[in-house]
Structure formats: C-alpha cells, structure tokens
C-alpha cells in the first residue's frame, strides 16, 4: 500500500491534471465552431487532447471516431493515475471499466430486441477489452439472451439477469435488466470500497458519497419521469427505484412518490439538500440537473478532500462530464444549433 507521501504526490498529480481541463472560454470557442473538423482542429491545437488527436485529419475525421478518441483519452488518464494508486489485485479501480461493461450489456440487450445484435461490435473498443471482466468481443457475437448469459457467466452481472430471460416470441424486459444491472453494479462498487485495503473510514465515506449521490439522483430522475410521462402510481414507481439511500430519508421519498404531479416533485426536490442545484438552472432536462449536482459535488471533493482515491474518483467524474460536454457540442454543431443553444446544454 502506498505511504502518505506518495499518496500526496498522486493527489497533486490528479489536481494538476484537473487544472489543465477545458475552461469556460474553451467551451465558448467550441460552441462557435461550424463543423466537426473545426472542433477537432481546436481540440488538437489548443487543448490537452492534442496527444490523443495527433494523428487525425481534422477535415476528414468522423464524428464517432472523435468521440471514441476523447473517451479513450479519459480512460488513458485514469489508467495512468491508477497505475500509481492501486495495487495490482485491487479491484476498486475497476469501477470505471465496470461502468462501461454495464453500458455494453444494456446496448446488447437493446440491439437483441431490435434484431441487430451484430451492431454491438461498433461499441466495443480494444482499450476496454484488455481490462474487462468478460470477453467483449464474445458479447458482440451473441445472437440471443441465452448467449448473453453464457458470456456473462461468472461475472457479477449474471445473477441479476439470470431469471429475466424472455418468453418465446417476446422481447427482453429492458427495464428489468437495467434495474438488475444497476443494482449489481452499485452493490459491487460499494462492496469494493468497503473492502478496499488501507483507505481511512472518512475516505470510504466520501467515495461512497460520490456513488450513492449518483444513485439517489437517478432515483429522483425515475420518479420525475414516471410522474411526468406515464402518471405512474407510487407503488409501481417504488419497484423501479434502486435500493440505495444517501441524503434523503424514507419520509422524503414517500412524499415524492405520493406527489400528484411532476411540478410537485420539483417543489419537493427544491426543499431537499439537492434543491440548491435545481434553482441554478432552467431545468429543461432532469439529466442536466443530475449532472450539475454531481459536477458540483465532485468539484468540491477535488479541492478539499485529503484522500487520493477520492480525488481520483472525483476527477474522473469531472473528466466524464467534460467529455460529455464536448460530445454535446459536437452534436449541437451537427444539428446546426446556435452557440447559445449549445451552451445551454453544457454542465458546469
């Protein structure tokens, strides 16, 4: 296990890397670009993505390729930091890989339902394959739910998905699978945090906070969406909520579940500890509210936490948000949105 001095060095490195992130001025500049090539050119010449984008031809690069390179750069930075921080057999650092695995499994299920499972290969990338807990290329080859289960045997995802096979001629229950995967993922991550050797209790609490807040925000999103679009009853909504709690207690959740409209849900959220993130935005999308809340929390942890695992985890959230912002800009430019419309989509 690393001693205190090297842990401080890693924290400093993470904070130094954080210091090089894109600024508001960079995002404003990017939002004013008119083509994907111009965005690529700017990122290549003016930002710290220059290394990852050194071999691209700006005027020819495909949008998807650019996004892939950005996500890979995120993973590379993470790997570099983790190489110093974690022991070889320490499982906690794999949470980012597990997140990608979960996403791929959901894509596989979606593509199985749509009858084009072969397209999953486009989402599988080499940099993940090396670290994944199962064969991603095998996942790309599945033709049925049973094939999927076969690939996932022995992984943490298997148990949750096992009983969700579709009936003959029916589609796979996507929502149930999503619930099972999220539950498996977050249970595993929280278990790894607790099991992680050498992290002080306070650091564990901060790490758990990052993930539990994420889950709690997801639950709020589920409540809001189901109220708004489907007018679902409280008991039905309750079954869909992930079984984790953080800052909100049961009474607050009951009030939210029993709200009569999505407006009331928002008002109740406004009275909770997450209310401060609500008022800062126009609230056009619940995802923006969630992303902003996570952004603010992780930003604070980067500045004030004394523990390197926490700083690294918070830093990675920030990087993910940055990459998502760039992707939003790319999409906005592609669909000819105005710079102000694009900037309104950005988080942070």
């Amino acid at each position: 296990m690393l001693n205190g001095y090297s842990s401080n060095a890693i924290m400093t490195k993470a904070r130094a890397m954080y210091g090089k992130r894109l600024t508001a001025a960079d995002f404003q500049e990017l939002a004013r670009k008119r083509t994907v090539g111009e965005i690529a050119s700017y990122l290549k010449s003016q930002t710290y993505y220059a290394g990852e984008l050194r071999n691209i031809e700006e005027h020819m690069i495909h949008r998807g390729q650019l996004e892939l390179l950005l996500r890979r750069s995120l993973f590379d930075r993470y790997s570099r930091l983790c190489a110093y921080q974690y022991e070889k057999d320490d499982g906690f650092y794999k949470y980012l890989i597990m997140f990608q695995e979960k996403r791929l499994i959901m894509s596989a299920i979606r593509l199985l339902n749509s009858g084009s499972p072969q397209d999953l290969i486009l989402e599988v990338h080499n940099y993940l394959q090396q670290h994944a807990t199962f064969d991603l290329f095998a996942l790309a080859s599945v033709k049925s739910f049973d094939d999927l289960l076969e690939v996932l045997k022995g992984t943490v995802y298997y148990a949750g998905l096992k009983g969700l096979g579709p009936d003959e001629g029916s589609m796979i229950d996507y929502n149930a699978c999503e619930y099972a995967l999220n539950t498996a993922y977050y249970s595993r991550v929280l278990h790894l945090i607790e099991r992680h050797a050498g992290i002080p209790k306070k650091a564990q609490a901060q790490l758990r906070g990052i993930f539990l807040q994420r889950v709690e925000l997801m639950n709020l999103s589920i409540i809001y969406r189901l109220k708004r679009f489907y007018h679902t009853e409280a008991q039905q909504i309750k079954k869909q909520l992930l079984p984790f709690r953080y800052k909100l207690n049961d009474r607050q959740f009951e009030e939210l579940l029993n709200a009569r409209s999505e407006q009331e849900v928002l008002e109740l959220i406004g009275k909770t500890t997450y209310g401060k993130y609500l008022v800062q935005q126009d609230f056009k999308q619940i995802e923006a509210f969630m992303a902003n809340a996570q952004y603010q929390m992780t930003k604070k942890l980067i500045h004030f936490s004394e523990y390197s695992p926490v700083v690294i985890a918070a830093f990675m959230w920030q990087l993910q948000i940055e990459v998502e912002n760039i992707v939003s800009i790319i999409e906005g430019v592609r669909y000819n949105l105005s710079p102000s419309e694009i900037e309104a989509q950005l988080v942070g």
């Binding site: 005027h59 020819m60 690069i61 495909h62 998807g64 390729q65 072969q118 290969i121 990338h125 790309a140």
Partner: protein, 656 residues
C-alpha cells in the same frame, strides 16, 4: 524640481470653427480638458454636445485594411495629403475591394493544394498497387473507395465477413490502415454506411490521376508545384499592392485618427443656443502649462472666430488644478514612484527630489557592491535603450550608488578583498573601512541604520511642518503628530535614548520629561479642538461628547507612540540587508569552493546573477516600502489630480 505652473484656458468661438479648434487642442498635446458643470440658473441656454463621429466608420475601415495588410499603424505626416473626405472614402472602398479579392483566390488555391497533398499521402500508401487507376475507376459494376480506417476498426472487419465487399490494406501504422474496398454498385450505399460506422475516412483520388500510383503521383506532384507557384505569384502581387500604397494608407490613417480623436473632445464642449442667439457659440475650458501659453494661442491664429482667454489656475473653484511634476534629468525617472503613491496637490510639494536622493542612497547602502552595481547600471541602460523602460533609467542611477557603497564595503562581485591594495595605496589603510560580517561591525551597521531612519523621519516631519504652514494649516503644523509637537516629542525621546545608551547620561528628569515628552503628547491629544480653536478663534466642545473624544484620542495617542517606535525600528532592515548581502555572497563562494576548480567560475557567475536578481529586487521593493510607509505617510497626501492632456495615439488598442 517643483510642480509645473498651470494656466486656466477658456476657449470661445463660433460653432463653425469648433472642429478645427478641437483638432488644434488635440494636436497640441498639452491641453487638459475639464467638464464644465451647467448651472441651473443658465436654464436651457447651454447644451452639451452629443454628436456622432462622422469619421468613425472610415477609420474602422482603414484599420481593417492595416490589419489585413499586416502594416503596423504608425504616424505619418499628412500635411501633403490632398484627399478630402469623399476622396478618402472612395480610396478606402476601392482598396478594400482589391485587397479582399486575394484571400478568396489564395484560399481556393490553398484548399486545392491541401487536397492534392492528401492524395499524395494516399498514393504513398498504395504504391504497391500495380494497377492502372483508369482501369479501376472505369469499372462499371464495381465501385471503389480509397481511404484509411482506424486500426481498431480494421480488427472488427471479421465481424462483417458476410457483407458483399472486398477489402485490401496496403500500409499501416499504429493508428491507421491505408486501404481500398470494392463493392457491387447496387450494394455500395450499404457498404459505405458500414465502413462509415467503422470510421473509414475516404480520400478522393483526383480525376486527373491516371496510370499506376507512381505515374499518378508524379503527375500530382507536378500539379502541386504549379499550384504552389500560382499561389506564390498571387501573394507577391498582393504584397506589391500593399507596399505601393502603404505610405498613403498610413497618411490617411493618421489624418482620420487625428480628426476622430479630436472629436472625442466634444463631450467637454458647451454650446450656447436659443431663440435669441444669433450665432451658435461654443465654450470649452481646460488647463495648459503656463510656459506654453504663447505657442498655444498661436496655434489658433488661423481661426478668427476663436478666442483664447487665460486666467490664473485657481480662480475657478469648480476645477481642481491638475498637477504636472517638473524635475531635472536626474530626478525625473523617480516620478514614476511618486505617481504610484499619488500626485501631490497643486499647492503641495513635489517629493520627487527627496525620494530620488533617499531611494538612491538607501538602495546603495543595502546593495553595496562595486561590480554588481556597475552591472545593474549597464542592464538599466540596455533596458532603457532597447525597451524604452523608465525603470532602466532608475537602475542606472541606483547602480552607481550601489557601486559607490561597494567601494566602501570593499566588495567586487562578492570578492571582499580585491580592493584592499587600493585602500592601502590611497588611504594607507591595511584593510577596507567596512567589513559587514565582522562581529564588531554588525552592531555599528544596525545602529547606523536606525540613526539614518531617525534622520529621515525627522526630515519628513520637518517637510510636513513647512507644508502645513505654507497651506495655512496652523493647527496641524503645531499640534499634529507630524507637526512641531510630534517633532519635539520624537526628537526628545531619541536624544534621551542616545545619551543614555552611548554616553550613559540620563536626562530623563521631570524638568525634561514634562515639557519635552508630556506636553507634546498632550498637545497631540488635543490637536483637533486646538486646531479648530485656531481656525474659529474659540474653543468648542467636541461634537460626539467629551467622553467619546477622550477615549478616541487616547487610543490615537497610543497608536502615535507605537508608530514612532515601529517606524524607527523598521529602518533596521537597511542594516539587515547590508548583512544579508554579504552573507549571501559568502554562501556563493562556499558553494563555489565545494564545486571544485573547474566549476568555480561558473558557480560564482551564476551566484552573482542570482543574488543580483533576487536581492536586488527585494532591496528595491523594501526601499520603496520605507519611502511610502515611513516617510511619505508623514507629509505627502497624494490627493492631487493628475495632468492628463489629450493626445492622439496611433497604436491600435481595443477601441480600434
């Protein structure tokens, strides 16, 4: 060595001559305008001007031309320029049109060149393909696509083996495979989509690429040379156009800038209007240096409707007289430091000579080294000559002072005994007069620093007394903490301390303490009511009550006494820097000895440079701090108004 005498100028004339008058004011470079407050008694008779600048748009277009042409804006004498406003507008429009044609043509050529370079790169990677391009592109039932695919996507092609295409990779590196794929014409859209999702980047081989790749490459290379030649020719043509017209453009720019900037003075102008006004008359007020009166009036000679009326500067209480410092060549660079603190009031004193002398001496004391001092002077000279920096001039002066004191300390680039033979030859001394690190000398240096501080503080107080008497502030002059009362108190305490410590004479008897210590403190305590009594010729009760007054004054007196102590002790840093400078050079030489004979000289050089940079900077800042906190605060308010004449700048800024 004083404050420039100013004159209040009133400019009155007919509206038709306003623009010309403003031009003269701006061009003179000495006119400091003032806003005339409009009295309600005058009613609507006087109006402020709020007209648009008719030259602003033309000026902007000329600036655009300069930027596009890469010509640096500068002043040119435009007296020979015969173009009027309309002609200038036409010229600007025409020239802009001609200049704008080039970026489009050059841009198109650049794009063509970039495409050809890409095609060349692609051809490099397919050199192993020994097939005629014409034969490939002539295929009726097959479509072909050349390009490159990321390596990761290349590895995924096996998942698409059932799709109808043929794929061939020619070359690859870590990130990409250069390749070609063929597909039946009726399936090409589907295959194109598939490859697009694998991030295939298509590179178009130009239609004019014939033959095998090597033949096509030769042809494209030739085309590339031709295109580059065309581009170069266009660029030369553009540069020639700019070169031929740059002088004229700069003249137009200078004229427009001058007129445009002068029109900014309109906000200071009042115009008399109204039904009973026969001719519209404008009024403007400002200040000029008294010595420029004749020249200024002469500049308006051609404008017969304009009158220039001079008045004493303080005649109109609505305007605060601006202050221009006037110093000789030696002191002038130090005005920069004075202006950092503030500008003296018009009736105040200019502290620049005092600062110049004390700053130079103090820096010399704190940074005494003959070699380093000379080097600082040389660096200052270079900075002034090359970058026109005022700080360079100051460095030239303080470097000399440092060199002089270096002679006293016997230090030349840290070599402490290099000057010993000189002392022996000139003065018959066995060693140098001052050895800073000698134990006996340390106390002397520190006590001397304090003594110097006392002298400077007393001088500052004397300045303050003189100034207050000059300004008829008798209360402050007599009873203030920096007035006579403060002077007596401070002087007495210092005298008593010196006599006690140096000569063991105790003069602290009641006969001394009462008049020299207690009485001044009491007068300082009662400064405010006594000052008011002098002004109004009667003693009044304090406004907030006696209790509040006593409490406030007590703490103020306490602070006064403490500040005397702290300000005096603050000068210990002067002695401290003498010692630290010697100490740091000692460290340098110790390191040089440790580094060995080969590295000795480089270490000494680097060490000297480091000490000069670090300690020179710190010493400079510390002396300035002493000047501002310990001296200026005693006599200098810095509440004057700076003299800011209207000038025309020909450099581009954010406004342009």
């Amino acid at each position: 060595m004083s404050i420039e005498k100013m004159t209040l100028v009133n400019i009155v004339g007919q509206r038709r001559d306003l623009d010309a008058a403003l031009l003269q004011c701006a061009a003179s470079g000495i006119f400091h305008p003032e806003t005339i407050p409009v009295s309600p008694k005058l009613g609507d008779k006087f109006k402020k001007l709020s007209e648009d600048n008719p030259y602003a748009d033309m000026l902007k277009r000329v600036v655009d031309i300069l930027i596009m042409s890469g010509v640096k804006p500068a002043y040119r004498d435009y007296s020979s320029l015969s173009l009027d406003r309309e002609n200038m507008d036409d010229f600007i429009r025409d020239f802009t049109g001609r200049l704008n044609a080039y970026p489009q043509k050059i841009g198109a050529l650049s794009e063509e060149i970039a495409q050809q370079q890409q095609a060349l790169i692609q051809l490099e990677h397919v050199m192993s393909l020994d097939v005629d391009f014409d034969a490939i592109f002539a295929c009726q039932y097959l479509k072909v696509r050349f390009g490159r695919i990321p390596t990761e996507s290349y590895e995924k092609l096996s998942f698409y083996k059932e799709r109808p295409f043929i794929f061939q990779s020619f070359d690859h590196d870590a990130d990409y495979h250069w390749c070609v794929y063929f597909a039946p014409s009726e399936e090409i859209d589907m295959v194109d989509n598939m490859f697009s999702s694998l991030f295939f980047e298509r590179i178009r081989i130009p239609d004019y690429a014939h033959g095998t790749p090597s033949e096509a490459k030769a042809y494209i290379k030739q085309c590339l040379e031709d295109e580059n030649a065309k581009k170069e020719a266009l660029e030369k043509e553009r540069d020639k156009l700019i070169a031929e017209h740059s002088e004229l453009i700069l003249q137009i720019y200078s004229k427009l800038k001058c007129i445009s900037d002068s029109l900014k003075l309109k906000k200071y102008v009042l115009v008399m209007t109204g039904e009973d006004t026969v001719v519209e008359t404008f009024y403007m007020t400002g200040f000029i240096p008294q010595c420029e009166e004749a020249a200024f009036k002469e500049a308006f000679g051609a404008l017969d409707s304009v009158d220039i009326i001079y008045q004493p500067p303080e005649i109109d209480r609505r305007f605060k007289v601006p202050v221009k410092l006037k110093n000789n060549r030696f002191f002038r660079p130090y005005e920069q430091f004075v202006e950092m603190y503030g500008v003296p009031s018009y009736k105040g004193i200019d502290p620049t000579p005092f600062l110049a002398i004390t700053y130079t001496i103090l820096f010399g004391i704190m940074f005494g080294d003959l070699g380093q001092g000379i080097l600082i002077s040389i660096i200052g000279w270079i900075m002034f000559k090359w970058k026109k920096m005022n700080l360079g001039k100051i460095m030239m002066r303080i470097g000399v002072s440092s060199a002089v004191f270096g002679c006293l300390y016997g230090s030349v680039f840290g070599f402490e005994h290099v000057l010993d033979p000189v002392y022996k030859a000139l003065f018959g001394l066995d060693e140098k007069p001052i050895e800073p690190l000698q134990p006996d000398m340390i106390n002397i240096i520190l006590l001397s620093a304090i003594a110097l501080g006392v002298v400077l503080i007393l001088s500052s107080m004397i300045f303050n007394i003189i100034l207050n008497f000059k300004q008829k502030e008798y209360g402050k002059a007599l009873f203030g903490q920096n007035g006579i009362a403060g002077l007596v108190f401070y002087g007495s305490v210092i005298t008593a301390a010196v006599l006690m410590m140096m000569f063991n004479i105790n003069i602290l008897t009641p006969a001394f303490i009462l008049p020299c210590v207690v009485l001044p403190i009491l007068l300082i305590f009662l400064c405010e009511p006594l000052s008011r009594a002098i002004k109004k010729h009667k003693l009044e009760k304090p406004e907030d009550g006696i209790g509040s007054f006593i409490l406030e004054s007590f703490f103020e007196c306490f602070e006064v006494v403490l500040s005397f102590v702290s300000n005096t002790v603050s000068f210990l840093r002067v002695g401290g820097f003498v010692l630290s400078h010697a100490g740091m050079m000692l460290v340098v030489f110790t390191l040089a000895d440790m580094a060995g004979p080969v590295a000795y000289i480089p270490v000494v050089i680097i060490g000297n440079l480091f000490v000069m940079a670090l300690e020179g900077l710190i010493a400079g800042i510390q002396v300035l701090r002493l000047e501002f906190y310990e001296m200026f605060s005693r006599f200098f308010d810095g509440d004057g108004k700076e003299y800011e004449p209207v000038t025309i700048s020909y450099e581009l800024n954010e406004e342009n």
